[in-house]
């Protein structure tokens, strides 16, 4: 006979205000099998937990039902409580009478009745619970970082620092990401390259870090501690080990008309190129779309010029497979495409540029060697107009509903740098709101206005059109309540940022959840901000939400700390709620193996005694407890009903249905 203890929590007044907790405890006490039924103000408090522990010892309870908040909140807490009192942690069931009862119902009678039914249902399920033990699995002591921007670099360096091996997989030919393209960084105006490139070099020189650039994730299998990842190393047509990065080939290449991605397409580069001077790895790459030799077999100048025979026109993509204990997603962002914002004339006028393009125009290593000129005629602009919130905070469907967070600050930075370097330039900024929370951020923005005389105009721009060689920016000045037209030489759009498009695919592969804006979802918005709900997947940088460099770096380090915490363990406890097959019922039909998303089910030939000394060999399913994640797809697919899920068995759920439907 089971001895069940019921514990009804008041949650202060959260539950007690709408549910008659005493009545619930009283009614549930009458349920068969229940030997004790208590109510207490805060079950999750130390005293509340002591109450449960004492009851387990005193009454020799075989199972515990806690009527409290959501199991997503405190199931783990109460399981630990019971475990410490010697009860199997899986002999605990939670009836959710807060989120799903007291908080949504106002009528006390109605809520109390529902709470009783939910309690009964939990008791009914508990009666069929069996003690479960979770298996253990080993942890591969190696981490994968997807993305080689500042987020990925920082996470990798911190993980390597703790002594674990890390691989960085980056889709472009060099690490560095967007930060490598920036000119200066707010609010201190350090040069981005000066603070980033040493970190890139640290990565390259660190023995624990293996950098795989121009590579993509092909597939991810496995689970926390044991991921198997296939990585596609795309053909760069240059042997990475041989190339010394001397750059001779770039000089000789006759096909020089490729758009320079690193400079945001503002100038051209040869078909064989090194993305930028401080690229890591400092190795050339051939663009096969542009290379004459690869396209039509005529040329080969670079191969002739190369002293170390690094060039290989026949190189093919290579797929390598590695094992990892943890995966860090640091895929970063890109500015949105501006095709929905024709009113700003981005596609019509050369002198309407995005802020990231302006970064290149102002960068000493950029297409104009740091001399700010407009792209159309290479003249110095005298009037520059910035437009904020281009595609940010847009719920009309053209842009993104969120605030991109970094634009207010970088626009203030741009305006300030321009006024500093070219004091005779007029700078206007159209804004909706200026948002500058952060250490020394508002001071920085005010400096742009007060010290550098940047003209901030509250209001949005309606359209940009050309007249007499000037870009006419027509917008609202809401403070003066007038429509203004500013004849400008250069217009800079603060385009919204969006997660790198590859993140969707990666999220699917690692089964991390993703929100409607393609930002990865954290396990808890406040308390677990660097972990994905999927165990073993960690989030670093803008892939989780818009953030600037200081925030990205702190998140990347936080993420590394979590990874180190995982990799430092030798064994991990597996999910105890896994599928298992009843070998006496299994017909070996393979249906379950086909629906299993984890490949956790395999088949073995097993000998069964038939009686009378006879035996029979049958093919039956077995589940790998370490791989099974407990989704239960197989249990429903199984035609003979041999598959069942521990902790959520057919009988248990049926019992819940019964209890709920009993009137």
């Amino acid at each position: 006979m089971q001895k069940i203890g019921v514990f009804v929590c008041w949650c202060g007044s959260n539950i007690a205000a709408t549910v008659d907790v005493k009545k619930v405890a009283e009614v549930l006490k009458a349920e068969p099998g229940v030997v004790i039924s208590e109510n207490y103000q805060y079950m999750c408090s130390e005293n509340g937990q002591a109450l449960i522990r004492n009851a387990i010892k005193e009454h020799g309870l075989t199972g515990v039902v806690v009527c409290s908040c959501s199991p997503r909140m405190h199931e783990a807490t109460f399981r630990k409580t019971c475990e410490s009192a010697g009860l199997n942690p899986y002999m605990v069931e939670i009836a959710n009478i807060r989120e799903q009862c007291s908080w949504i119902h106002k009528d006390i009678e109605e809520a109390t009745e529902k709470a009783i039914i939910l309690g009964r249902s939990a008791i009914a399920k508990l009666k069929l619970n069996a003690p479960l033990t979770s298996g253990e699995s080993a942890v591969v002591k190696r981490a994968l970082v997807i993305g080689g921007g500042i987020a990925g670099i920082q996470s990798a360096l911190d993980i390597a620092e703790a002594g674990f091996e890390v691989d960085i997989v980056e889709q472009s030919p060099t690490i560095g990401g967007n930060m490598a393209k920036l000119d200066k960084t707010f609010p201190t105006l350090d040069c981005a390259a000066c603070i980033l490139t040493p970190k890139m070099v640290d990565c390259a020189q660190n023995e624990k870090i293996d950098i795989m650039t121009f590579s993509e994730i092909e597939s991810v299998k496995g689970f926390v501690g044991n991921f198997k990842v296939q990585i596609r190393r795309k053909a760069r047509f240059v042997d990475e080990k041989k190339c010394t990065g001397c750059g001779e080939c770039m000089q000789k290449c006759p096909s020089k008309k490729g758009l320079n991605d690193f400079n945001m397409g503002l100038n051209t580069r040869p078909a064989i190129y090194i993305p930028f001077a401080q690229a890591i790895p400092n190795v050339a790459i051939i663009d096969p779309e542009q290379c004459l030799k690869i396209k039509n077999g005529k040329c080969g100048l670079c191969a002739m010029k190369c002293n170390v025979n690094a060039i290989d026109y026949t190189q093919k993509d290579e797929i390598i497979e590695r094992e990892y204990g943890a995966i860090v997603v640091a895929t970063g962002y890109k500015p949105i495409s501006l095709e929905n914002f024709n009113e700003y004339g981005y596609s019509s006028y050369k002198d309407v540029v995005t802020s990231l393009e302006l970064e290149r125009l102002m960068n000493a290593a950029g297409p104009s060697d740091g001399h700010l000129v407009r792209p159309s005629d290479h003249k110095e602009p005298k009037v520059i107009t910035f437009i904020q919130c281009v595609g940010s905070r847009d719920t009309s469907g053209c842009g993104k509903p969120y605030c991109s967070k970094i634009c207010c600050m970088y626009t203030a930075k741009h305006a300030m740098l321009i006024r500093e370097k070219y004091p005779d330039t007029e700078v206007h900024v159209f804004y909706i709101d200026v948002r500058t929370p952060g250490k020394n951020y508002d001071e920085f923005f005010r400096r742009a206005v007060e010290q550098y005389g940047v003209d901030y105009i509250k209001g949005m721009v309606g359209k940009v059109y050309e007249e007499n060689g000037k870009l006419m920016v027509q917008g609202s000045d809401l403070i003066n309540n007038e429509q203004v037209v500013i004849p400008s030489d250069l217009v800079v759009l603060a385009a919204a940022i969006e997660p790198n498009p590859s993140v969707r695919n990666i999220a699917t592969m690692v089964t991390a959840s993703i929100d409607t804006n393609n930002f990865l979802t954290e396990a808890h918005a406040k308390l677990r901000p660097v972990e994905s709900p999927t165990a073993g997947i960690f989030l670093s940088g803008v892939c989780q939400g818009p953030k600037d460099i200081p925030e990205t770096v702190s998140q990347a380090s936080a993420c590394a700390a979590k990874v180190i915490g995982l990799l430092a363990k030798d064994k991990l406890k597996c999910n105890a709620c896994v599928s298992h097959s009843d070998e006496m019922l299994c017909t070996g039909c393979s249906v379950c193996a086909n629906v299993c998303p984890y490949g956790a089910i395999t088949y073995v030939d097993k000998e069964f005694r038939l009686g009378g000394g006879k035996t029979e060999v049958r093919r039956v399913a077995t589940v790998n407890d370490a791989v099974c994640q407990g989704c239960g797809a197989c249990t429903v697919a199984c035609p003979s009903g041999a598959m069942d899920l521990k902790g959520f068995s057919n009988k248990q759920i049926m019992a819940e249905v019964d209890a709920i439907c009993k009137r």
Binding site: E343, C389, R393, D394, T395, S396, G397, C398, G399, I432, D433, K458, G459, M460, V461, G462, K463, Q474, G475, S476, D477, L478, N481, Q483
Partner: protein, 128 residues
């Protein structure tokens, strides 16, 4: 009719939620008839939210709005200032005479006294 009721009706007919406006001024920034308006498109949105319907009903902007819908097209929040203007315009017309305008009666009403804008926007509405 009571003032609050008119505001409610205008809001309902405009089919737009003025509270979604974040006061960026893009509607007025884009408006080609801006200089001929006494109350600007962005003010229409904030006035209707504040319930200041009298000012709006007397506004000259009702007849200078071209119904070009540029403000609707460009609004980043999906607010439709032109719809508010049109709803106020309709209210003025309804109060002047008869309370209903049928699609079939529109052709017979085309004369000098009806603002062209009203017809344009009504055709748009009735087309749907």
């Amino acid at each position: 009719m009571e003032k609050n009721e008119i505001v409610r009706l205008v809001k309902e007919r405009s089919g737009t939620d003025a509270r979604k406006c974040m006061k960026c001024g893009k509607c007025s920034g884009r408006c080609p008839a801006y200089h001929d308006m006494d109350i600007k498109p962005h003010q229409f949105v904030s006035y209707i939210e504040k319930g200041e319907i009298d000012k709006l009903m007397q506004s000259k902007s009702l007849y200078t709005c071209l119904s070009c819908f540029a403000c609707v097209e460009r609004c980043p929040r999906g607010v439709a200032p032109a719809n508010v203007i049109e709803a106020v315009r309709q209210e003025v017309i309804r109060q002047q005479g008869g309370n209903k305008i049928m699609a079939e009666t529109v052709p017979s009403m085309i004369d000098e006294t009806i603002p062209q804008q009203l017809l344009v926007s009504m055709f748009r509405k009735l087309n749907k």
